[in-house]
């Protein structure tokens, strides 16, 4: 069992708003192993982006990291000084974001901005430029020399994102965090970027943390996945297992509500009822219980913890799909309504 390069323990990030305290990341713990591609998947309010921002201490005001440890090579990133964490950012751990348009400075040439990432960490101008050109080629930007001189608005969305990836990789970081990097791009461009990331992961051994809401992206790129809901990890494990045999009702429901382009005939989508959880007033007990078809009485009062449900697979659920299949007829379930299968207060939202 290799040692993880990143260990997140009990991370908690909160926002103080007008209406109260919102705990965007609520006790998240996970490991990242060298060279692996880890997916963090979830919908709005799941806390996936905020987890990534917390790791690099980029949480925007009025948010604060109030608890936890982020161990990178035995250093707790949350305890470092401002100077020290700035050293780490961009050099050891890099991050790319969703919208390359706003991440790139429109009045500076693209090549220069990639150079900057290296200049900030000690390289000389000549070294930086040479490396930038090399990187631009590596991320498959054609005509790299002329693109180097272009301004961001002269590049297409896909190329801007490639430039961002080049910037991220410029100092050969151990970890690249990608926060929804392809969401704003066209499908064909998205596929190319994902292929690029997969190739880079294989060639360079850079670990990739891929944050996305798209299960298809996870299926193609990641070897392990964390499923987040309402600020917590509800399930984690190897991708094949999670897709084949999800144990948490949220994961299971989510997979069944996605239309498939390769579906052979029209089946009504099994949608999860209800709306995203209100982080100001999180439900008591299990946060998913207001929408869960398999809930039992315990789910209303006690919060489940992550437990082993398969080889290297963990889920936070009192029931789990295994039991739901055996005892509640989960496979035959037509609609994902709260309490529908378990019979516990069916139809009530809370």
């Amino acid at each position: 069992m290799p040692t993880p390069i990143l260990q997140v323990r009990d991370l908690r990030t909160q926002f103080l708003t007008d209406g109260g305290t919102v705990t965007a990341v609520d006790g998240v713990s996970f490991d990242l192993f060298p060279g692996e591609s880890l997916g963090i998947v979830g919908e709005s309010g799941s806390g996936k982006s905020m987890t990534a921002l917390s790791i690099l201490r980029l949480v925007p005001d009025p948010g604060k990291i109030v608890n936890g440890q982020v161990l990178f090579h035995d250093q707790d990133l949350l305890q470092l000084t401002g100077e020290e964490i700035r050293e780490i950012r961009g050099r050891d751990i890099a991050m790319i974001f969703q919208d390359p348009q706003s991440s790139l400075n429109p009045v500076l040439r693209t090549g220069f901005q990639v150079d900057e990432a290296m200049l900030a960490h000690g390289k000389s101008k000549g070294e930086a430029r040479a490396r930038t050109l090399e990187l631009l080629k590596k991320v498959r930007i054609p005509a790299a020399e002329s693109r180097y001189k272009d301004f961001p608005h002269q590049l297409s969305g896909g190329m801007r994102q490639r430039a961002m990836i080049a910037m991220g990789l410029s100092n050969a970081p151990a970890i690249l965090i990608a926060d929804e990097p392809t969401t704003a791009l066209d499908v064909t461009v998205q596929a190319q970027i994902l292929e690029l990331l997969a190739d880079l992961n294989r060639e360079l051994g850079t670990a990739i943390v891929m944050i996305t809401h798209n299960m298809g992206v996870v299926a193609g790129l990641c070897s392990r996945v964390l499923v987040m809901y309402a600020g917590e990890i509800v399930e984690q494990g190897p991708v094949e297992q999670i897709f084949e045999n999800p144990q948490h009702p949220y994961t299971w429901s989510l997979l069944r509500s996605i239309p498939r382009v390769d579906a052979l005939r029209h089946e009504r989508l099994r949608s999860i009822e209800g709306i995203a959880p209100d982080l100001l007033h999180t439900p008591s007990g299990c946060r998913f219980h207001p929408r869960c078809p398999f809930r039992i009485d315990k789910c209303f009062t006690d919060e489940p913890r992550l437990e082993e449900v398969g080889p290297a697979q963990q889920a936070a659920c009192w029931v789990t799909m295994e039991r739901a299949r055996k005892e509640m007829g989960a496979d035959g379930l037509k609609d994902i309504r709260p309490g529908a299968a378990s019979g516990v207060r069916p139809g009530e939202l809370d």
Binding site: D18, E273, G274, I275, D278, D335, R337, P338, G347, L349
Partner: protein, 297 residues
Amino acid sequence: MAVTAAAVVVRPITPVQASLWSDAWRRLRRNRLALAGAVFLVFLTGVALVAFVYTPYPMAAVAVAAPYSGPSAAHWFGADVIGRDVLSRVMVGAQISLTVGVGTQLVVLAIGVPVGLIAGYFGGWIDSIVSFAVNVFYGVPDLLVALLLVVLLGHPGLDKIIIAISVTRWMDMTRLVRGQTLALREREFVEAARASGARPIKILFGHILPNALGPVIVQATFGVPAAILFEAFLSFLGLGVPPPQPSWGSMAADGLSAIRIAPHMVIAPSIALSLTLMSFNFLGDGLRDALDPRSRR
């Protein structure tokens, strides 16, 4: 799931009905300076209204006190150069200032809002004409326009002054409303209104104007003290309300020559003017912060 089974998707995300106006009101209430300003203005309006039926002495009554006499029990603000009670005159002066201030803004709104809406929404040649007019008026110095108007409209009087000031101020409002309209016109809910068959009038007054009201109200609130000051200035120059009407500006002018021996003649109306201007400005600031949808504290 039957379409009509409403049982499941039920809750909105806030438990309390909250319009954007009540939210703004709540924010405004928290702003101490704005509240203080509002309180003073309410008081001032009260004084102005009271002055219609009662002032300690008639404002034109001459020699009710010794000329130049300072504040005393009988005359809280003293007397002016011909023995008129300054307090009474300041009270009536409040009427004048408020009438001019609010009056000009009403005229400015009446012109600026419809013109701005139409120019912004329809664009084209209408917009070109309006923009041209706006630029022309901006080109002429305020004072000159006001002077010309006052002279041309004959006998000076409150209404003439209101018109004169409005003519120099309508452009700001027009530009503001036009800009708001241009921005709002592209918003998706306006497109949706068109798609659902709304006529242009309905769109302008039912969708665009309500969403532009915030900045418009703030602008009008700031416009009041500007107009009051302008009037005070005109009166100071002798071009404002005719005597014996006591504009704060003319009172200050009258008292200027005697400022060494009877400073109260200048101080009283000046303080009244300053407090009034400050109050409107604080209120305007508060309104701007309260109505700004982005500052969600």
